[in-house]
């Protein structure tokens, strides 16, 4: 027995001789079924006519040898060994009358079928891998032309959006247009132009209010005219066109044309006068 086992182990080792790592590694087999199939192939007969008894012996001998070599065996292998030992004992016993479960012969043929199935799928896998493979044997277009994506905007708005936008818009301005009467406001530019025109005619201190009242006929406009003019006055002082003088807080403000000032800019009337 042990001699047999050694022989099979050797053969198993031969099988993997191009993969040295597998010599001591029973896991190099893809499981107990793979190991059984390898052993079965050595019988060189059709798997359906294989001697399961002989196969069980070979497997058990292989396992025994492996254990003697202190190889770690995965549980799967040991379970299969136990099952084969059981099958072997059943096969060796004369067929009794026990009707429970599968007969030993049925168990044996089921095992043979499983082996044949594994062998068949392996053959199929081999054929599959031999097929021309993409990027190895056949090639797709090397330089595909991408489909250009053209985005066409599709605008959407509902009639409700449109009408409510219109109503909101019109209402907002309907109210503001009605309630806010246009106030008469003297703009800074207006005040400045007016001041320039007036100051040009006087070279001595003049009371600002005098000018303004002469200009602002409507009493309602007095405060706005006064405010704008004062601001314009200060600007003209800054530019060196005017001098401004107020003797005391709340006293009348006097202005006069600066002696050698440049004259108010942008006012043709003044430049003529200079």
């Amino acid at each position: 027995m042990s001699g047999d086992a050694g022989q099979f182990l050797d053969e198993a080792v031969d099988r993997a001789s191009d993969e040295p790592a597998l010599i001591v590694d029973v896991e190099g087999f893809e499981g107990p079924l793979d190991l059984l199939l390898t052993l079965a192939r050595q019988q060189k007969v059709d798997l359906t006519r294989i001697s399961i008894l002989a196969l069980a012996d070979q497997y058990l001998a292989f396992i025994e040898a492996a254990r003697k070599l202190r190889l770690e065996l995965a549980a799967d292998y040991l379970v299969m060994a136990a099952w084969l030992a059981f099958l072997k004992s059943r096969l060796l016993l004369p067929e009794g009358g026990e009707a429970e479960g599968m007969s030993a012969a049925e168990m044996a043929s089921a095992l043979a079928l499983r082996l044949k199935r594994l062998e068949a799928i392996r053959a199929a896998a081999g054929k599959l891998m031999e097929r021309p493979q993409l990027h190895r044997d056949v090639f797709p277009r090397g330089d595909p032309e991408p489909i250009a994506e053209i985005k066409r905007p599709e605008w959407s708005a509902t009639l409700y959006d449109l009408l409510s936008a219109y109503a909101v818009e019109r209402q907002r301005h309907a109210l503001s247009h009605v309630r806010v009467a246009k106030r008469a406001v003297w703009s800074l530019a207006e005040a400045r132009a007016a001041l320039g025109r007036l100051v040009g005619s006087a070279s001595d201190w003049t009371e600002l209010n005098g000018f303004l009242l002469a200009y602002a006929i409507e009493p309602a406009m007095r405060s706005t005219v006064f405010a704008s003019s004062l601001a314009a006055t200060l600007e003209l002082v800054l530019e060196g066109v005017l001098d401004v003088h107020q003797p005391a807080p709340f006293a009348p403000i006097h202005v006069r044309k600066r002696a050698n000032g440049p004259g108010p800019t942008g006012l043709p009337a003044d430049s003529e006068r200079l």
Binding site: I150, R152, P153, S156, T158, D161
Partner: protein, 250 residues
């Protein structure tokens, strides 16, 4: 070398194995068999990631192949097809035929919502047409961004319809048929009037007595104070649909 270039016989066997229909097809279409090098060039150019120049092609083909002549023959063969063999400098490549560019574009519809400003402007154009930009601004009380009008022109819902007889001769805008169809209106006069808008709760009732909204009309006939768009000035670069604007001059 012999390994790299399978004997012609071998190739032929392969070919007939791969394509049993070949023989009939070949017999039907041509008297003399198609030279093998055409197949080889086809395959190399098809699989290449970029155009292959004649030198590189020559190196990859069996010695003695007249690459230039084969390329010319292939180019001729493919010229009427959807894929052409084209020369790019010294290199050659298959390219889809120029006239089929339209086929290789994917038009994706991108739904877009109009901005609030655009909807308001559109509404004012609808009710107050013909209306100029300045008039829209007066009604809205804010400046109308150029982009807003551009977007509206792009929708195809408004169009420039003429010019106001006024200083600067500003463009007048009006709505289009596309506007009616988008908003499900049979005619512009179907736009609700003030009472209907009030009834729908869109106005809250605090309106001055003098408040009114115009009875809108998109009659393409120019108003008294409008004059036609001149042909050259029609080309605004804005009009989105070539078929939308010509009406404007009509």
């Amino acid at each position: 070398m012999s390994q790299r270039w399978p004997a012609v016989r071998e190739i032929a066997e392969h070919a007939s194995l791969a394509a049993p229909e070949t023989s009939q097809a070949a017999e039907a279409s041509a008297v003399e068999p198609r030279p093998e090098e055409l197949r080889l060039i086809e395959a190399v150019l098809f699989a290449a990631a970029e155009p292959v120049d004649e030198k590189a092609l020559t190196k990859r083909l069996p010695p003695g192949t007249d690459v230039r002549a084969s390329l010319k023959r292939l180019a001729l063969e493919y010229a009427p097809r959807g894929v052409n063999l084209v020369r790019i400098g010294n290199a050659w490549a298959f390219r889809t035929a120029n006239d089929l560019a339209w086929l290789l574009t994917h038009e994706a519809v991108e739904p877009k919502k109009l901005s609030r400003a655009a909807i308001e402007t559109l509404a004012i154009v609808a009710y107050h047409q013909p209306v100029t930009r300045a008039e829209i601004e007066e009604i809205r009380g804010v400046a109308v961004a150029k982009g807003t009008l551009d977007v509206l022109l792009e929708t195809g819902w408004i169009r420039p319809r003429g010019r106001r007889k006024a200083p600067g001769r500003p463009l007048t805008f009006g709505t289009t048929e596309a506007f009616l169809s988008h908003f499900g209106l049979e005619q512009l006069s179907d736009l609700p009037g003030l009472d209907e808008l009030k009834g729908a709760g869109l106005f809250d009732g605090q309106l001055p007595a003098s408040f009114s909204i115009p009875a809108p009309s998109d009659d393409p006939a120019l108003h008294e104070d409008e004059e036609p768009l001149e042909a050259p000035e029609l080309d605004l670069g804005l009009a989105p649909r070539p078929d939308a604007s010509p009406d404007a001059c009509g």
